[in-house]
């Protein structure tokens, strides 16, 4: 009987919490030498957390990381790297003012006489690595100004330079062209052949089948299935990724009115192209898609944070130029950003201060703040939205995620918008608050707002939307009526496939 060698690296029964949220629960995963193992799952399924645990950035609350059959405690990214685990992150962490060669060898530069930096050897070795990768790279050039694809290659070269035994690729192909992807895969196959254990995290399911030997599907923080890719189909993967009970969200039917928001041919090159859609009063249009598809970019242009290069925006039939957030607000657009803490709220302000911030000029035309008046506004919304706090004077940083999000919603409702754009409105909040937020969104639609709902939470998108627009790599690739939409159909379109059943607009 042949004994299979133990996995290079394995996670055993790993659990990790962030505050009240359970990111991963009891997940076991093993990476064998000479194997490419895919890790798939929706946004938020826990893939990122697992990668960070392997990279030494987080420590599991429960369970262990096992390297060559020995449980270890990784004391940080440097420790993980020293043990041969190399991670190529989605976003490269390079030093822009240093050369490519130096970046490749950062932290472990070859030394010459007296311990000085061996530049020539470094340059030679770096060149050799890139030659092996079959990449034409000038190792003497500065990293600043290199494309994302090149920067990623440098990260891979970094891994090769430490003789990594485990290579983790986290969404490596997100910003790559087809040619670059092929090149990357050739490299990965080479490494696999030389005995490296590969973990490949990706949304692109066809790549999973092209490259990987086994696949693990994560859903809601748990491992659902681990099997050889030969025994799976794309449909299987999708089914495992999304298959869950669709909970009932209270979505009230609304009468659809006139078109309030009309977007035509909106383009911002390299982010999104030729985006056109319309939203009517009372309608909720869901925007689904993978990370990087361009949804938030569109929202930012609609709200005046970024400028579009081409295209037209109309509010209630009138063309508008939106050059700034205040212009957007004046036109009647409100935007609840995806980053609650950095963009949505001033954490050090009270509920009142946050709620009234956008409407201060309107509320107090004579400049002076009347505390009673603004407190009244805040009270009104806090009651309506059922914000649980000690009072409207409480600082929002001490509120729970769900209540914080309600404050953000309140703030934007107070501006009396016609169009409300929500970007991941229920990210990071617990299920109870989620339901409340959904109820609020339904009510808002019913009261005549046109709502754009950007979300990576498929059940949410499906339950709340009258229509679902799916974006993929900067374009709208599908429009699916809410009534007939399925998670699989959305996922297909989001990963670049064409849904054979497309209802006419």
């Amino acid at each position: 009987m042949t004994t299979t060698p133990p996995p290079r690296v394995a996670l055993q029964g790993v659990t990790k919490r962030f505050g009240p949220t359970l990111a991963v629960e009891d997940v076991s995963l093993d990476l064998l030498a000479g194997e490419a193992h895919a890790l798939v799952g929706e946004n938020g399924a826990g893939k990122s957390t697992l990668v960070k645990i392997l990279a030494g950035i987080h420590e599991p609350d429960d369970g262990s990381v096992v390297i060559d059959s020995e449980p270890v405690t990784l004391r940080g990214p440097a420790d993980a790297r020293a043990r041969g685990i190399a991670v190529v992150q989605q976003e490269p962490r390079l030093f822009p003012d240093l050369t490519v060669a130096e970046n490749v060898f950062i932290g472990h530069a070859p030394t010459g006489r007296f311990g000085s930096v061996g530049w020539r050897e470094m340059s030679r070795e770096a060149s050799r690595i890139f030659r092996e990768l079959d990449v034409d790279m000038d190792v003497g050039s500065l990293v600043r100004g290199l494309s994302m694809a090149d920067q990623q290659l440098i990260e891979i070269a970094k891994a090769l330079s430490v003789d990594a035994r485990v290579l983790i690729l986290d969404e490596p192909t997100a910003s790559l062209s087809l040619h670059e992807v092929e090149r990357l895969f050739t490299i990965v196959r080479q490494m696999r052949a030389s005995g490296v254990a590969i973990l490949f995290v990706s949304h692109r399911l066809e790549e999973v089948f092209t490259l990987c030997d086994r696949a693990t599907v994560l859903r809601d923080g748990r491992s659902v299935i681990t099997a050889p890719t030969a025994q799976l189909t794309t449909a299987d993967l999708v089914r495992h990724m999304v298959g869950r009970e669709v909970s009932l969200f209270p979505k009230t039917a609304a009468e659809l009115g006139d078109v309030l928001l009309d977007v035509r041919g909106l383009t911002r090159s390299e982010r999104f192209n030729d985006v056109s859609f319309a939203v009517r009063a009372g309608e909720i249009v869901g925007f689904a898609g993978l990370v990087g598809a361009g949804r938030t970019e569109v929202a930012r242009v609609l709200f005046g944070i970024d400028a579009a290069e081409a295209g037209e925006i109309r509010l209630a039939g009138q063309p508008v130029r939106i050059g700034s957030p205040s212009a957007a607000m004046a036109a009647g657009i409100a935007y609840v950003p995806e980053d609650r803490h950095q963009q949505g709220l001033v954490l050090d302000f009270s509920i009142t201060d946050n709620v009234t911030l956008p409407i201060l000029p309107r509320l107090f035309p004579r400049l002076f703040i009347r505390a009673a008046a603004e407190r009244a506004v805040a009270d009104r919304y806090a009651d309506r939205f059922r914000v649980r706090a000690t009072g409207v004077d409480q600082l929002v940083e001490s509120l729970s995620g769900g209540n914080q999000q309600k404050v953000v919603l309140a703030k934007w409702l107070a501006t009396d918008p016609k169009v409300l754009i929500l970007d991941e409105p229920t990210r990071g909040i617990d299920i109870g608050a989620k339901v409340e937020v959904h109820r609020l969104i339904s009510e808002l639609a019913a009261s005549g707002l046109a709502i754009v709902l950007i979300s990576s939470d498929l059940p949410e998108v499906l339950a709340m939307s009258d229509r679902i627009l799916v974006m993929h790599e900067g374009r709208i690739t599908a429009e699916i009526p809410g009534a007939t939409a399925t998670e699989e159909a959305v996922m297909f379109a989001a990963t670049g496939h064409q849904d054979p059943v497309e209802a006419p607009v």
Partner: protein
């Protein structure tokens, strides 16, 4: 009053501390010198810090909004030099003063444009204009001093309101303190300034016109710096291009001592006014006890550093005690601090 509950309490602590220091200084002062509270000494006490105190007021707003203006001392010098040059050219003060103020506004505008339109860090921009404006002052006036200003001007400079020990320039300070205090704490302009300092992105995303706000603040700072230069000229009855060197340090010290956080978002006008009083008393006591100007200079430097280090240490102690084990690592992955939903 600003409706920031937790912070109001925290600041009240700092301002109370300043008040206690003021009381202590008054006690020490009277103990140390019999002339301390006399009508002869009080004007001197006030006037010694009047220019820096006046400049500290707009500086407060700028620092709260997250920026800084190091060029104030040079703008004061430039205004002074302008008065000198215009005086030589026979231009009456009534016309020269407005010109100087306008130049101050333009200088502030220049700073503001570089920061808001070109996106340069205010620290470096105002370091450059610190040199540039001083250079311009020297270039137009040279090293000579100009005197012979009108009586009403010099009386304004070192006279007091008849019957009181209150120097005329102090009236300007009080007026400016009241106006800016009202703006910062009573109007929504002030609320927007705090928001910008606490979270520039969130303020922008909430429709606050951050660029315009900062532009206005820089112009205000420049104009008030020019005003301070005018007061200096009146006080010394002489216009020199090298006047005011080293004042920026004192201005920043007063602001930070007043409880304003160097990183922005926190602080009150009241605190800064109290800090100005502290500095005035301290300076006066040192002078009356014949402590050298050098020691005073050291004292100011120490005061500046202490007023930043103390809150830092307090903060580190507080957060160091409450942070769980994985603190260091979480900071390293700062960019991805968000929970993956």
């Amino acid at each position: 009053m600003d409706t920031m509950t937790g912070r109001v309490r925290g600041l009240a602590r700092w301002e109370t501390l300043l008040l206690l220091i003021i009381v202590a200084l008054v006690v020490i002062g009277t103990a140390v010198s019999p002339v301390f509270l006399t009508t002869r000494n009080v004007p001197n006490l006030i006037v010694a810090v009047i220019e820096v105190s006046i400049m500290a007021l707009p500086m407060t707003l700028i620092i709260i909004s997250g920026e800084i203006d190091l060029s104030v001392e040079s703008m004061a010098g430039l205004a002074c030099a302008l008065l000198g040059v215009l005086s030589i050219a026979g231009v009456p003060l009534e016309a020269a003063i407005p010109v100087a103020l306008v130049v101050g506004a333009i200088g502030g505008l220049f700073n503001g444009v570089l920061v808001t339109v070109f996106g340069l860090p205010s620290l470096v921009v105002t370091l450059g204009t610190l040199a540039l404006y001083r250079g311009l002052a020297l270039a137009i006036l040279g090293s000579e001093g100009v005197s012979g200003f009108a009586d009403w001007f010099t009386t304004f400079g070192f006279g007091t309101i008849p019957g009181t020990p209150v120097p005329w320039p102090a009236v300007l300070f009080i007026a400016l303190a009241i106006v800016l205090g009202l703006v910062l704490h009573g109007t929504w302009w002030g609320r927007q300034i705090y928001a910008t300092g606490k979270n520039n992105a969130a303020a922008r995303f909430s429709g606050v016109r951050v660029a315009r706000l900062k532009l206005v603040l820089f112009m205000l700072s420049g104009t008030v710096a020019a005003l301070a230069g005018i007061i200096l000229t009146a006080r010394f009855a002489s216009a020199r291009a090298d006047i005011g060197q080293g004042l920026t340090l004192t201005v920043v010290t007063i602001v930070l001592l007043g409880g304003v956080n160097i990183f922005g978002g926190r602080g009150t006008i009241l605190g800064v006014v109290l800090a100005a009083i502290v500095l005035a008393l301290l300076g006066n006591i040192l002078r009356l006890t014949n402590v050298s100007a050098e020691i005073q200079s050291i004292a100011v430097g120490l005061l500046l550093i202490v007023s930043v280090v103390l809150p830092n240490i307090a903060h580190q102690l507080r957060s160091g005690l409450s942070r769980p084990g994985g603190g260091r690592l979480s900071v390293a992955s700062a960019g991805a601090g968000e929970v993956e939903a």
